[in-house]
């Protein structure tokens, strides 16, 4: 069996890239990040159905940019800057005060909205890259079984997107059998509900199958210990949520986010450690964490750290206000740092070489 990169390494790599994207709204930095993600996916994605997830995430990203920009134009209000055109202002009822329909649309407004949309899309594309690259099944193996309820939630969450993609491909092929449109908006709308419903129910079936096979079995544990782990877990979750919010929201003070996040993680880890005591789990073929995994994760930590530092140091360059309007070329160092994250395209083992001998999923129709 050829070696494969640890699934968690892919996720950490992608999340670090997403953090990088969250620190800047400069399109000249965001676009290289999406390119890096796309390049690595093209080089190392899995041949399984979920390997095609990336394309769908990119499409979703484009939709987000379009919606974000359109909304900015429609609800323009009186934005300052170089006015492009003026839309008539439609009076709205009093309870909607604060929102203005129509108004003067400026270049700064459009560019700003586009950049914000691009930032969101880039974060999404990074998540898509992780979905394409990491096998959900191998990630599942790393989910601690000790915290059963959380484990089931994570199982459903992790497998949802891959199931969704497999189901989407399957349903499209079937619609063709029934002589219906498979492409375009009509095709998409018609399959949305069954696809989401089916993917969710299959994720839950999977959780049931794992349960029937002993996932989350407890050893002999005192109820005191159980309450302690549950309490720690709750504490950890709430601290992490606030911490992540503070960390991702660039306007919140860094001192709010980081310490809470670290504390939350620490509490979570100790809950897992406590919960794992006495669980009888063993490993058949443990996923190893070696230099390839370290290199992958570190390659994305480099831009995350450098871009975060720069956004604190030169906020105007990393999150420009476009006033006056000019090309805001990001520092060369940040660009170079982003390029470092392309490293896994060579460092990670090629999984398609491993799976080429296998028959692909016998879907009914080749798309």
């Amino acid at each position: 069996m050829t070696p494969r990169l640890h699934a968690a390494a892919w996720w950490l790599w992608a999340l670090a890239l997403a953090v990088t994207a969250s620190r800047t709204t400069n399109p000249l930095l965001l676009l290289p990040i999406t390119c890096v993600a796309a390049f690595v996916v093209a080089a190392r994605r899995s041949s399984a159905p979920w390997g095609r997830a990336f394309g769908y995430f990119v499409k979703l990203g484009v939709v987000i940019i379009v919606i974000r920009t359109l909304f900015a134009v429609i609800f323009a209000g009186s934005s300052g800057g170089d006015v492009l055109w003026v839309l008539p202002v439609v009076p709205l009822p009093g309870w909607l005060s604060g929102i203005t329909l129509g108004g003067s649309v400026s270049t700064q407004l459009v560019i700003g909205a586009f950049s914000a949309g691009l930032q969101l899309a880039t974060i999404l594309i990074c998540v898509g890259a992780a979905n394409s690259l990491a096998s959900p099944a191998r990630l599942l193996k790393s989910v601690p079984a000790a915290l059963y309820e959380l484990g089931v939630a994570v199982v459903v969450a992790i497998t949802f997107a891959p199931q969704l993609i497999s189901d989407l491909l399957r349903l499209r092929s079937v619609r063709k059998l029934r002589g219906r449109p498979t492409r375009g908006l009509r095709g998409l709308v018609a399959v949305t509900l069954p696809v989401i419903e089916g993917a969710l129910s299959r994720s839950i079936t999977l959780a049931a199958a794992m349960d029937a096979r002993g996932y989350g079995r407890l050893g002999d544990r005192s109820s005191q210990l159980r309450y302690l782990t549950a309490g720690l877990l709750l504490l950890s979750l709430s601290m992490s949520v606030i911490g992540i919010y503070g960390f991702l929201d660039a306007s919140a003070p860094l001192l709010l986010g980081l310490p809470l996040l670290v504390l939350g993680l620490a509490a979570g880890l100790s809950a897992v450690a406590l919960g794992s005591r006495g669980t009888p789990r063993t490993r058949y073929r443990p996923d190893t964490w070696e230099w390839r995994e370290w290199a992958t994760v570190l390659s994305a930590m480099v831009p995350a750290v450098i871009v975060s530092l720069y956004s604190a140091w030169q906020p105007l360059l990393m999150s420009p206000t476009w006033q006056p309007l000019s090309w805001m070329v990001p520092p060369l160092l940040t660009l170079a740092a982003v390029l470092v994250a392309v490293l896994p395209a060579w460092v990670a083992p090629d999984e398609s070489a491993n799976t080429a001998k296998q028959l692909p999923q016998p879907a009914l129709v080749q798309a």
């Binding site: 069996m1 099944a137 199958a209 063993t282 073929r285």
Partner: protein, 543 residues
């Protein structure tokens, strides 16, 4: 080992219980066979043994179920995992890992078996179920039969005391089914394992059963007894039992071997009967299917190659072959769903790949192996309405067709909640709504009880008489003997045999139907051996 004490199970949104006041005991070391019509609660009964009902499905459980002394009300499925191994009907949905080897080890990992023991047991099971060449494959890339064997293997490695299997052989070819059943029987004999299995294809499992549970459905109490007792009155019976009832043999034989001891006089009677010269349809020149040198490839693998095949209207063509022989690929190519890498497929002279919308629906219709794949809506009603729309027929047409196959299905049901057989009926109704010239069915009898199978068979005959061409891929020899007019055997993607039903089916004991095995005098190759109980009845009536 397994004890049901006055058990009733009611699901959340219904008022009638699926199981009602059921009392039964399965002793240790028994192979217990559960039978019943589709929707009679077989799956519920099986899931209740390892606690999936009600812990994962919801609903209320009244009474007490104990397995190896553990009460399922207080023990969740994961707490029973070391005692009960459960193999679901659709193994793919329950695969947790990326490779066969890891799949086999998964339960052991949860139970905390030491790694060295795990390795040894994985190797044992790989050999036992002939899976070692697949050890690094991803489960989703396996054929149906291989998946089933992996699912059984993944349960075996944990050495449970009880194994529960929901239709373990329904997706398997006759050879693979025999292997799996032989492996199960060895476990019963050598290790004293208790096995509970539900199965529709009684002809395959009946002779292995120590006891049987019959679920009559619709709230009547379950019956448990020896196979002879249950078979004596059960409306669900395999061909050999139906033949025995016809001939009035007593005690009732359950296996071909037993039946042959009684069969001497019947054989003579049939030999005296005027040989009803195999009618055989007049060969038509008109061709509805024309396949020339077809090849389908995925990546580096060739699924079918150099396939030449033609069929005329009114033919019922059965395609047989091992799991993974390329049957589904051939059917996909016929339905226009698979692109050919070489050669051509024509339906009435037109390549189905080029057809769109109503043209396609009217030319060729396919019921896929997993009928759920064809269903995309949240209610039977909407599904039928959409099918009427797609086919451009009057509203309500599909619903009428459905009522023909499965009258009990309500228009408001969610397709997901239907039984396997009911889903097949719905998919078939949808496909038939377009009155396609060619009807393609992939494994249509999976999960069908005998009554539904009879209805399906007679409807297929009606369709063929009306000038449709029916192509079905199946492992079900009894169905082939019943409806097919011609058989094509595929192996490794190549057509290895093409000919009349009797000629092909009787060529090997693995394919031969039970009745033929019972009535064969010298060898199976004799001319004019009847293949089904019905044809025996016809011969006896004709005299």
């Amino acid at each position: 080992m397994i004890n049901f004490d006055n058990v009733s199970i009611t699901y959340a949104d219904t008022t009638t219980p699926v199981l009602h006041r059921t009392n039964l005991t399965v002793p240790e070391g028994d192979l217990c066979l559960v039978i019943g019509a589709t929707g009679s609660g077989k799956s519920t009964l099986l899931k209740a043994i390892n606690g999936l009902v009600p812990h994962f499905t919801g609903g209320t459980l009244q009474g007490r179920i104990t397995v190896n002394g553990r009460d399922t009300a207080t023990h969740r499925p994961r707490d029973l995992a070391d005692v009960v191994g459960y193999v679901a009907q659709d193994p793919l949905s329950g695969f947790v890992t990326d490779s066969v080897e890891e799949e086999l080890a998964y339960t052991m990992e949860s139970l905390g078996v030491p790694p060295s023991v795990m390795r040894q047991r994985v190797e044992e099971v790989l050999d036992l179920l002939a899976l070692s060449h697949l050890r690094n494959r991803a489960p989703r890339t396996l054929s149906g039969g291989e998946r089933q064997r992996v699912a059984i293997g993944s349960v075996l490695t944990a050495h449970p005391r009880v194994i529960v299997l929901d239709e373990p052989t329904s997706a398997l070819d006759p050879g693979a089914a025999e292997e799996v059943l032989a492996a199960l029987q060895r476990l019963v004999h050598d290790l004293g394992l208790t096995i509970v299995l539900a199965e529709h294809r009684l002809e395959r499992v009946l002779e292995f059963a120590d006891s049987m549970i019959y679920l009559p459905g619709s709230g009547s109490p379950a019956r448990i007894g020896s196979p002879e007792e249950i078979m004596d009155s059960s409306p669900i019976a395999p061909a050999v039992v139906r033949l025995a009832r016809l001939a009035g043999w007593s005690p009732l034989p359950l296996s071909v071997r037993d039946a042959r001891r009684h069969a001497q006089s019947l054989r003579e009677e049939i030999a005296l009967a005027p040989s009803s010269a195999a009618a055989g349809l007049p060969l038509q020149q008109e061709r509805s299917i024309d396949v020339v040198d077809a090849e389908v490839r995925y990546g580096g693998t060739t699924a079918i190659a150099h396939v030449n095949l033609s069929a005329s209207p009114s033919e019922v063509l059965a395609i047989m072959g091992r799991n993974g022989a390329g049957k589904s690929s051939l059917l996909g190519a016929l339905a226009g769903a698979r692109r050919l890498s070489q050669g051509s497929v024509r339906i009435d002279g037109v390549p189905p790949q080029s057809l769109r919308g109503q043209q396609l629906v009217r030319s060729v219709g396919m019921v896929p192996q997993e009928p759920m794949d064809l269903l995309t809506y949240t209610s039977v009603e909407r599904e039928c309405a959409q099918a009427d729309n797609d086919a451009g027929v009057t509203h309500g047409h599909t619903a009428q067709l459905l009522a023909l196959f499965a009258p009990e299905v309500s228009a408001h049901d969610h397709p997901r909640d239907l039984s396997e057989g009911q889903r097949l009926a719905l998919a078939l109704a949808i496909v038939l709504a377009g009155k396609p010239r060619v009807i393609v069915l992939d494994e249509p009898t999976r999960g069908l009880d005998y009554a539904m199978k009879t209805r399906l068979a007679s409807h297929l005959r009606v369709l063929a008489t009306a000038g449709h061409t029916v192509v079905l891929a199946t492992h079900d020899v009894e169905l082939v003997a019943d409806v097919a007019t011609r058989v094509v055997v595929l192996a490794e993607g190549l057509v290895v045999a093409d000919g009349g039903v009797a000629e092909i089916v009787l060529a090997s004991p693995i394919f031969a139907p039970q009745v033929a095995k019972v009535l064969a005098h010298g060898g199976l190759a004799e001319k004019g051996i009847p293949l089904t109980p019905e044809s025996v009845a016809d011969i006896l009536v004709a005299r």
